[in-house]
Symmetry: C2
Subunit: 284 residues, 2 copies
């Protein structure tokens, strides 16, 4: 039996499955304080005898196995969770192997195993929501090095018609500062979902996302790019992004047909928890 935790900033999804990844139970709990939240996590997993647990967490997290704070959520803006020894707390209660990576790396792994990138060895998963976060799988492995990717903060060029300064506390007008949901809403002082018909909103958004996808493509050449998160519910963005991407890249490198390359998650909201189950199995 495998355990999985998709630890998001808003909610935790907990699941157990059999060894073939058939889900036995699954619950969703709100992310409140660590004490409260871990109590619920323990209440759930105490009912099962899992042989491994896979965890995909919001971050930043420490993924460096040679670091003293490996397994911690580190300098997150969610201050109650700063310096939380996630893996330590879990291992104290369940002395089983644990997989540990970012929520977006887990989602990429889920999509690679059972979703839009099935049969591939690499893919990139970008969520465009409250923030912009990216993960990837390369040669079947979640992408980590000194730390984990923070693709949402790469720099992009300002759109000529965009007078919004950006709202990233670190970089002002990085990708996240210009293209995450809250940036869109601050730029127009309106909910994003209420501007579906405003062409300019989505052209500017596509301009920023296409620049980022160009940069990721030139840097890691993934076989598939999967775009999820609340903002991508505006599905009219997909063709706009593909057109802009094509224009920017200007044929310099070959990619798969863009309709197959820049796609929504096939597992929808299950990409993350599926990836966490894969992480559990890999930890065995």
């Amino acid at each position: 039996m495998l355990g999985a935790i998709e630890a998001g900033g808003t909610k935790f999804v907990l699941a157990v499955s059999d060894d073939d990844f058939n889900i036995i139970e699954r619950v969703s709990i709100p992310t409140t304080t660590p004490v409260e939240t871990f109590k619920k996590v323990f209440d759930f997993f105490d009912n099962y005898q899992v042989s491994a647990i896979g965890i995909g967490s919001f971050g930043p997290i420490d993924v460096n196995t040679s670091s003293d704070t490996y397994g911690y959520i580190t300098s997150t803006p969610k201050t109650a969770w700063e310096n939380t020894d996630f893996i330590g707390l879990m291992k104290d209660r369940y002395p089983v192997p644990m997989g540990w990576t970012t929520d977006v790396n887990a989602a990429a792994l889920g999509e690679l195993s059972y979703g839009a990138a099935k049969g591939k060895t690499s893919c990139l998963y970008l969520t465009v929501g409250t923030g912009v976060g990216g993960g990837a799988v390369i040669n079947g492995e979640p992408l980590e090095g000194y730390g984990h990717p923070e693709m949402g903060h790469i720099l992009v060029r300002k759109h000529a018609n965009d007078s919004f300064d950006g709202n990233c506390p670190y970089h002002s007008d990085c990708l996240e500062g210009l293209a995450a949901g809250p940036a869109i809403e601050k730029r127009y002082d309106k909910k994003a979902q209420d501007m579906t018909d405003n062409k300019e909103v989505w052209e500017i958004e596509a301009y920023y996302l296409a620049q980022a996808l160009m940069s990721y493509t030139l840097t890691i050449s993934p076989e598939k790019i999967i775009l999820g998160g609340g903002v991508m519910k505006q599905t009219q963005l997909f063709p706009l992004i593909r057109t802009e991407f094509d224009k920017l890249l200007n044929g310099y490198v070959q990619t798969p047909d863009l309709n197959d390359y820049i796609v929504p998650p096939a597992l929808k909201d299950d990409a993350g928890i599926t990836g966490c189950l894969m992480l559990a199995q890999r930890a065995l």
Copy 2:
């Protein structure tokens, strides 16, 4: 015995080594036409009985093993070499296993095995010369996906004091178009090596390179970034790049100490050929 070819646009370096990578013979030949160049390659390797050959080539090249043109140099600006079946020609003559990747991936592998990134599992190698080319090793494997990285063409923001439009035929003002050696020389109409004392030249250069390194760091989080190529002979660039990188990233993610993170190649001009020998061994 292992064989290696570092196939550059200007010259080919050919080497054979024993199984412990001790070089037995090594020659350098100019890159002219494929017919002439391969004749010299064959003249060299015909003297040895190699059990595998590793090739790091200028590009673009096809690294996709499921493609019909795997092992080809494809759409290179060096037109005589367009659509050259490099691996095919080599395999016809030497039916041994062959490793095949870009020259910069090979250099990254060399530096990871014996150079600046020894003991790490990941590093990024960027050459700033006639063009800007990047390669990487991740989890010990040369970075490839649908194709290979073309990191030199990511977009950067123009420096406020730079009125040069950029000279990339595909993107005008991408990194290569603004920061490769020929771009520097076109901007000032002067040889780069004759402007060592002109502070502005290197501040602008550092500004572009630091943006690119920020983007690579956020995207793949390598343990080490190695900067080689003719332009990096201007070693005053290293501290300028580190300072600008630090300013741009603004503490958002942890990196190694920048003096250990952004460094010159330890193997100097041997990074590529060393990596090619490693490729040969891996092909066995």
